[in-house]
């Protein structure tokens, strides 16, 4: 039973044809490579065009975020979390804030929860849109879907800018709430963006979903079985594409997600096409959440009035808080020893853990599939290497 999923029991990697070891070609994809989404490297051993072995190499963007955070105050780490997964800074803020709130037992006011859901789901929209764009870019469609995604992302980033003051490094959440309330007219602007968004999704669908080349390139490529997905700790769209019904928004019911009616799409094949379609469908569900949240948002304070900005010392103890970030399960594990800075601060990076199965997905596929599979995992190197 143990050996079932262990990597030691992976089938001994045999060359596909009668190729001796000398005829294999080892190439380093990355760290300078257009499709590794940053400074990531895969040492790929090829037999012709087929992948025989693949070893990911990490650490080119390692800056020891955790060590830095252990010498910062609790609040001081908040802007650094923006830089983990720089595509969706707000959900990083949220996960960290959630962990600290669990650690110190802080309540979040109603309005702040709604604000968090709104910005969090907007983040999901722009992340998924861009991911699909990047995936198509990796498959060589010369940037068109990516530019459409960036066009829509632009509108969402404008919203973030007018709310938080920065487009990417938002630093928006605070322990027990949010930093600022929305300015006048922001909600209408956001509603406008949300109303316009389905048009973009329809366009995207026309452009891509039924495209024969895309289907040929992605269907049956990089198949991840449900068992392996669970055992290897896959999370987010990566797991759901393999049919694992696990959405932390539904399971943990953190924040106020139980108030919204949204569905969790599940894939049946676990290939690249499923991963990409799951994100598509999730965007549509996010729009539902956004519409409801924007309709229902109550008035009130946006931060726990008992919270002070300086001198925050949680009582000794530990907490693990996690959210469903667009990439998967983003968790923060904090240990407090009662001082101003955390004793231990740990980020559970979904991008890194979703890469666990990269070799399993890529073996036997083509070089061209490797970039598509890597793209479908959805990594951001800021988070992988921390």
């Amino acid at each position: 039973m143990i050996t079932d999923a262990s990597p030691a029991a992976q089938p001994e990697l045999e060359p596909l044809s009668e190729t001796s070891e000398e005829q294999l070609l080892e190439i380093a994809m990355g760290p300078q490579h257009p499709s590794t989404h940053g400074v990531f490297r895969m040492n790929v051993v090829l037999d012709g065009e087929h992948v025989v072995r693949l070893k990911p190499v990490f650490g080119y963007l390692h800056r020891n975020h955790e060590k830095i955070a252990e010498s910062e105050t609790y609040l001081g780490s908040m802007p650094y979390t923006d830089r983990l997964d720089y595509m969706c800074p707000i959900t990083n803020n949220w996960a960290y804030a959630l962990a600290v709130e669990k650690l110190a037992g802080i309540q979040v006011p109603e309005r702040a929860e709604y604000l968090r859901v709104i910005v969090g789901e907007l983040t999901r929209l722009q992340n998924h849109a861009c991911l699909i764009g990047f995936l198509m870019q990796d498959m060589g469609s010369s940037g068109t879907p990516l530019m459409y995604a960036f066009r829509e992302r632009e509108k969402i980033l404008d919203l973030f800018e007018s709310l938080t003051g920065a487009r990417m490094m938002c630093n928006y959440m605070r322990f027990g709430g949010c930093r600022v309330d929305m300015p006048a007219g922001w909600l209408e602007q956001a509603q406008n963006v949300v109303r316009e968004f389905p048009r973009f999704l329809d366009e995207y669908e026309n452009l891509l979903v039924s495209n024969e080349i895309l289907m040929e390139r992605t269907q049956g490529v990089g198949v991840l079985s449900k068992e392996l997905a669970i055992n290897a700790g896959m999370s987010g769209p990566m797991a759901r594409a393999s049919g694992v019904n696990y959405d932390i928004r539904k399971v943990d019911k953190y924040s106020i997600y139980e108030r919204f009616a949204f569905r969790v799409p599940l894939g049946a094949h676990g290939d690249v096409y499923d991963r990409y379609m799951i994100r598509f469908l999730e965007m549509r569900e996010s729009l539902k959440i956004l519409n409801e949240a924007m309709r229902d948002i109550p008035a009130g304070p946006i931060v726990d009035p008992k919270m002070r900005i300086r001198g925050f010392r949680p009582k000794p103890g530990e907490a693990y808080g996690r959210i469903e970030s667009p990439k998967g399960e983003l968790g923060f594990y904090l240990i407090s020893n009662g001082s101003l800075n955390p004793y231990r601060y740990r980020v559970r990076p979904p991008s890194l853990i979703n890469l666990t199965v990269l070799e399993d997905l890529c073996i036997g596929q083509n070089v061209a599939d490797v970039v598509a599979i890597l793209g479908s995992v959805d990594i951001v190197l800021g988070e992988v290497d921390r």
């Binding site: 262990s6 060590k67 290897a232 700790g233 693990y320 968790g331």
Partner: protein
């Protein structure tokens, strides 16, 4: 799920395992279960496969460094001093050996419960920093255990591919340990605070003392002595 019931269930399933409840005083209420290294894999398999538990998702694996403490206390002793018994105060230092702890956060996808927190500790922080790897049970621990090996120096026995993950292979120390001292020869970047500058200069002068004069001359010109003094003038 109650941790007590899980504990008793595990004790029944894995004979001989020593489990210990570790209370968590924080409002999060995430108490944990300390397991002994010898039975760790068996306990993990039971947690994963027992029908009532089914903790099939090992979400988070991380290390914690608890360095050894030297505590000095004054102890009053009765001693023979100059032939008479007197009460003498003496300083006594006790050294508690440090340990490295590994924490696993488990969830169940099937039953949708969790988290349950498993902890394991090494005997010390140096030679005996060995723990059994749980990667054969949960594949998700693979990269995370590698990371702990890299940053904390816990050797996981039974890990299929135990290499450094984030630091380069030639690196010797473990940067997440609390007694880790950062290098002082990194590229100098002037900041408002002079600590970095002080250390960079110190490094240069130490290098100058160590090396023959010619080599130092080259090195200093390479590291741009002008810039250093400029920054120092602030």
């Amino acid at each position: 799920m109650n941790l007590e019931t899980i504990k008793s269930e595990l004790e029944a399933a894995v004979p001989g395992c020593r489990l210990e409840l570790v209370a968590n005083p924080s409002p999060s209420g995430q108490h944990s279960l300390r397991i002994d290294a010898a039975h760790a894999v068996a306990v993990a398999v039971c947690l994963r496969d027992a029908p009532g538990l089914r903790f099939d998702l090992c979400s988070n694996v991380t290390g914690i460094d608890w360095p050894g403490k030297q505590t000095t206390e004054k102890v009053k002793l009765r001693k023979l001093v100059d032939g008479t018994q007197q009460e003498v105060e003496e300083l006594r230092t006790t050294t508690t050996p440090g340990s490295l702890e590994v924490v696993y956060h488990l969830f169940s996808i099937e039953k949708k419960h969790g988290p349950i927190v498993l902890r394991m500790s090494t005997q010390d922080r140096d030679a005996n920093a060995h723990l059994p790897s749980l990667t054969p049970v949960w594949r998700s621990a693979e990269l995370q255990e590698r990371e702990i090996f890299d940053l904390f120096g816990v050797v996981f026995d039974g890990h299929p591919d135990l290499r450094r993950l984030l630091m380069w292979d030639e690196f010797v120390d473990h940067p997440m340990r609390r007694d880790y001292v950062g290098p002082d020869d990194y590229e100098y970047e002037p900041t408002a605070h002079d600590e970095v500058l002080r250390r960079a200069n110190q490094h240069l002068s130490e290098a100058a003392a160590k090396l023959p004069s010619e080599a130092v001359g080259n090195q200093q010109s390479e590291t741009d002595g002008n810039r250093l003094s400029e920054g120092g003038g602030r």
